[in-house]
């Protein structure tokens, strides 16, 4: 089993590096919309303050290129422009989009999983085993736990492929840990209060 562990580590590192590369390319690939030069010009004489935004490169990011139309006449341009402040900014809308969509999908998956564990699973269990076994399994794990060990019951009667069993086993172990944590944090208040 040792080789598989090592191989997995290698794969993990590979995956990480690929992810980094993807991320980097994401960041560097710039949309033309993603740069702007923003000039803020304060009120000048009787001219209101204005904000100008232009899609120009860094070297053109100054008042003369960006402020259009120029609100003052030729001789005042210099005085007006001295007061304006121009900032070159860039963003990566691709990164934003990917991040937000990724965030939402993870959140959605977690919510679905939570709903499945709290609502659907007890119903499924009841359908499969009827009432008597339900009570028995409730006795086993105590009724305070919202995620009862239904998988335990499920897997006990079905002979499934080995792999699936193992997933369930791991999942069940994880749940036991979570239950333990929940008890110590929320019920007994021994840690993290």
């Amino acid at each position: 089993r040792r080789p598989t562990v090592k191989m997995k580590r290698v794969f993990l590192l590979e995956a990480l590096s690929v992810a980094c590369c993807v991320l980097l390319s994401q960041v560097t690939a710039k949309n033309s919309e993603d740069i702007r030069c923003k000039c803020i010009c304060p009120p000048y004489r009787d001219i209101e303050g204005q904000i100008y935004k232009q899609n120009v490169s860094l070297k053109d990011c100054n008042c003369l290129h960006v402020v259009e139309p120029m609100p003052v006449d030729g001789k005042d341009v210099e005085a007006y422009c001295l007061r304006c402040e121009c900032k070159y900014e860039e963003r990566s809308s691709g990164t934003i989009k990917v991040t937000i969509i990724m965030y939402l999908s993870i959140l959605g998956l977690l919510l679905l999983y939570m709903v499945y564990l709290t609502l659907l699973e007890p119903i499924l269990k009841r359908r499969l085993f009827g009432h008597s076994q339900l009570i028995q399994s409730d006795d086993d794990v105590g009724d305070q736990q919202p995620f009862a060990n239904a998988h335990n019951v499920l897997s006990r009667s079905h002979s499934r492929p080995n792999m699936l069993n193992k997933v369930e086993h791991a999942q069940q172990r994880w749940r036991r840990q979570v239950q333990e944590q929940r008890k110590s944090v929320f019920d007994r208040h021994v840690v993290l209060s």
């Binding site: 007061r83 997933v167 110590s184």
Partner: protein, 840 residues
């Protein structure tokens, strides 16, 4: 860069792999070990094969389970030598533990730093010795030396990427409470109006692409109906986000709640909380942190980011044997990760390193300092390349002004320091009292309801006031801003100077009288101050991820800004006063309210956390205001003095104490004149110390002794009569070894002798073979004599990170002092309940 490192590592892994295959002893049937494997741990590795080898779920558990992939490594070669008693048993070999599980710790226990460190030294020595023998071993030793830096690189990359994601998502979700972007729902308000030319000077963030909910529903942006719609939607989103956050925390990872810094401090001091830095905690903390921050609750993301970074480090530690198996080494990495957390939270790499040194870490050698420095650098670089704020800067609060300050202004700065100290002390008292109520009464049984009520209250009260409606970070950045001509916010609502003398080239303005807008802003700020002070007390410690930095900084920034504007007006109307004469003539820009806000923020944060150096560095990295180090230092120091006068402990220590974690505060002095004999167990009235003898006890007797007590370790003596000390055996090691021997070693029954000596004593020929356990015994336990003063003993415990220490009298074993005994003793001296120390 990383590619090269990775390929190097791969090579190393492949080499090791070959090495192990060679080591595999064909004589042993691997099936015979299965009985030993704990069934629940057995499946870990296989689970991943299904998962497609993308993430190594098996070994990313918080603490390596008994079988995290390292069996064959040690089972083959050392078994015969270590256990069967042919030839002298070796001392615990660093690379080849005889039995899996030996040298690990139970949940909620303290580690023994000395043992862990010597284990690592042994391991290192072994590798160096081997490296002279072959090229493969040499490569192995090189990669082993290199693995620390590689790990730091990975931690930096991962934490930086996560922090960038959190920043982007939190911005977006915060703006979601106001409205939605029509050209792409994933844009936040600012990015929605990125290229729009409809923004005006007065309302710079309004553009038609961004629709508030009221606008979307009612069709108009004006009027009472739209306002009410906006108000309702704001409350709705706040409730929804906080509900999701608290239910996710409750369902998947209860350890993800709170700030995390008190626990990380305790963990770094050598405590074990399994699962606290695990993968589920990481996922849930990342996801719910965004929700909690966006829900408008008065909390920040800085403390939780430290926790997130530590989770990353802990998970990545499992890739490297050096760190996976050694709790002390892993804590070095976690120290560096704490630095990374602050580095990405504030964009302050150096401040992060100092934060780890000053506030979080327990053991911080120079090597860790350099590693933290490197990791903080990598993380800051990663964050910068993600560019979450869209302004190519690391930090949110960059200040543009560089106005000088005058010596006289030190007085108001010190005043702000006093305010910060008072607020800090008050906050700690109030928050701890509130948390105690939560912990001991029925309130603690309704975490979800509590969060919902507080969120509803916050949203209800916060929306009408524009300064509380915006997020904490936004508020601080607005308060830090100086009013130049470019600003049009309410805070800059000064009366326009009558003669528009266009002399000033820059955009800084002379002091001006306050106008209508500023007065409105001032009383709104005053209300916001009271609100923030109240709500933060009950928010911190709720069962959602919640940091403290931003709220306390916000309180200080509001107070500072108020004082700053007050000073400015005072100076404007009283130029001729003695104190203003000479430096604040009419028409000069002498007082910068933004600077006062900065100083106030530092003072309040200092009062709450009691940081000094790291806080000042964080503040100037955060604002870029290098000129203001002295004001910041003055305010922070005053704040620490004032706060310390009311109570020595910062908020994190107070929470550690509230929870009863075994944390030996390195800053506190021990002044009582007690002796070791007063603290040790057993007390005079207690039964004698439970000891093992080095020979003559049977397995059955040992088991009975272990079962009948609950001690975590047993001294081994020469004989019951002489009580002379031989060594120390940990309960867990003892149980595992006996259990293992009963299963795997032939002839071990209850009547077998347990032998701790080097050579087995002569026995009757028909007696069952003895069980040799010298290998698991610590032959160099720390001892003090019974008349050692406790202050020295406490120092030994602190500096060496001991877990227990034996007390002798004239060479005879007398008793034992554990870390818990010392903590209880200290609690007793300080007139606290000694039973408040809960864990070993």
């Amino acid at each position: 860069m990383s590619q090269v490192l990775l390929s190097l590592y791969r090579k190393y892994a492949a080499d090791r792999l070959r090495g192990f295959e060679r080591m595999e002893n064909p004589g042993y049937c691997s099936g015979s070990f299965d009985g030993l494997h704990h069934p629940s741990d057995d499946d870990d590795d296989d689970m991943v094969d299904i998962a497609g080898a993308t993430l190594d779920f098996s070994s990313t558990d918080d603490v390596p389970p008994l079988s995290s992939g390292g069996y064959e490594e040690y089972s083959s070669s050392s078994r015969a030598a270590g256990m069967n008693g042919n030839g002298p048993a070796k001392l615990v070999d660093p690379l080849e533990d005889p039995v899996p599980g030996l040298g690990t710790y139970e949940d909620f226990n303290t580690i023994d730093w000395v043992r862990e460190k010597s284990k690592d030294r042994d391991r290192h020595r072994e590798i160096t010795k081997k490296s002279r023998q072959s090229t493969v071993a040499l490569l192995h030793s090189v990669s082993d030396a290199f693995s620390g830096w590689l790990l730091m690189l990975l931690v930096g990359l991962m934490s930086g990427a996560l922090a960038g994601g959190i920043d982007i998502a939190a911005h977006w979700l915060t703006d979601m409470k106001d409205g939605v972007c029509l050209i792409g729902f994933w844009f936040n308000h600012e990015h929605c109006c990125w290229t729009s030319n409809e923004t005006t000077f007065q309302e710079r963030d309004r553009c038609p692409q961004w629709q508030s909910w009221g606008e979307l529903i009612t069709g108009t942006s004006e009027g009472a109906f739209a306002y009410i719609m906006n108000y309702l939607m704001y409350i709705f989103w706040a409730l929804l986000f906080s509900f999701l956050a608290v239910t996710l925390v409750r369902a998947f990872a209860p350890y993800a709640c709170g700030s995390g810094i008190p626990e990380i401090k305790t963990i770094l001091s050598g405590f074990i909380i399994r699962g606290y830095l695990g993968k589920w905690t990481l996922i849930i903390k990342t996801i719910t942190l965004v929700l909690a921050v966006s829900s408008g609750l008065s909390l920040g993301k800085e403390g939780p980011l430290v926790h997130v970074a530590c989770c990353c480090a802990n998970i990545l530690c499992h890739l490297f044997t050096k760190y996976r198996k050694n709790e002390a080494k892993r804590r070095e990495v976690l120290s560096a990760a704490a630095a990374v957390g602050v580095s990405v939270a504030f964009g302050a790499p150096i401040g992060g390193v100092l934060f780890s040194l000053e506030e979080v870490s327990y053991y911080f050698p120079l090597k860790t300092l350099w590693r933290s420095f490197f990791a903080a650098l990598v993380a800051a670089f990663t964050l910068r390349s993600i560019n979450p704020f869209g302004n190519s800067r690391l930090v949110l609060f960059y200040v543009e002004f560089h106005a000088p300050w005058h010596l006289v202004e030190l007085a108001p700065f010190v005043l702000l320091g006093i305010f910060g100290g008072l607020w800090g002390a008050l906050f700690i008292k109030a928050n701890i009292a509130w948390c105690r109520i939560r912990k001991s009464t029925r309130l603690g049984h309704y975490p979800v309801t509590e969060v919902l009520v507080v969120a509803a209250l916050t949203a209800l009260l916060a929306y009408p006031n524009s300064y509380t409606r915006m997020s904490g970070a936004e508020l601080i950045s607005e308060l830090f801003n100086d009013c130049s001509l470019l600003d049009s916010s309410q805070l800059c609502g000064y009366k326009q100077p009558t003669n528009t003398s266009e002399t000033g080239v820059g955009n800084s303005l002379a002091d001006r009288p306050a106008g209508e807008g500023l007065y409105t802003a001032l009383w709104q700020l005053a209300l916001a101050l009271i609100f923030k002070m109240m709500i933060t007390v009950i928010t911190f410690g709720m069962k959602v991820p919640s940091g403290l930095f931003i709220p306390s900084m916000a309180v200080g920034a509001i107070a500072g800004r108020l004082l700053g504007v007050g000073m400015e007006q005072l100076a404007y109307y009283n130029h001729d006063w003695l104190i203003f004469k000479g430096w604040c003539s009419p028409g000069a820009d002498c007082i910068t309210p933004g600077l006062y806000a900065m100083v106030g923020a530092a003072a309040c944060l200092g009062g709450v956390t009691r940081m000094t150096v790291s806080l000042v560095v964080i503040m100037f990295e955060l604002t870029g205001g290098l000129e203001y180090i002295v004001p910041l230092m003055a305010a922070t120091m005053t704040s620490k003095w004032v706060a310390d006068a009311f109570g020595r402990e910062g908020i994190y220590e107070a929470h550690i104490r509230l929870n009863g974690y075994p944390f030996l505060e390195p800053k506190e002095e021990f002044e009582h004149s007690s002796l070791a004999v007063d603290v040790m167990r057993p007390r005079r009235s207690d039964p004698a110390l439970a000891v093992l003898t080095q020979e003559g006890m049977t397995v059955g007797e040992v088991e009975t002794l272990v079962e009948s007590t609950h001690y975590s370790g047993f001294p081994v003596v020469v004989s019951q009569e002489s009580q002379r000390l031989v060594g120390f055996v940990l309960r867990r090691d003892l149980l595992i070894s006996i259990d293992n021997a009963r299963k795997r070693q032939e002839g071990i029954v209850s009547a077998s002798q347990v032998v701790f000596t080097e050579h087995a004593p002569a026995q009757a020929p028909e007696a069952p073979p003895p069980l040799r356990l010298r290998g698991i015994m610590d032959l160099s336990p720390f001892t003090v004599t019974d008349h050692t003063p406790m202050d020295i003993t406490v120092d030994i415990f602190r500096k060496l990170g001991l877990r227990q220490c034996l007390v002798t009298h004239n060479g005879r074993l007398l008793g034992i002092i554990t870390k818990k005994d010392i903590l209880k003793h200290m609690a007793q001296i300080a007139n606290r309940d000694p039973d408040s120390i809960l864990f070993n």
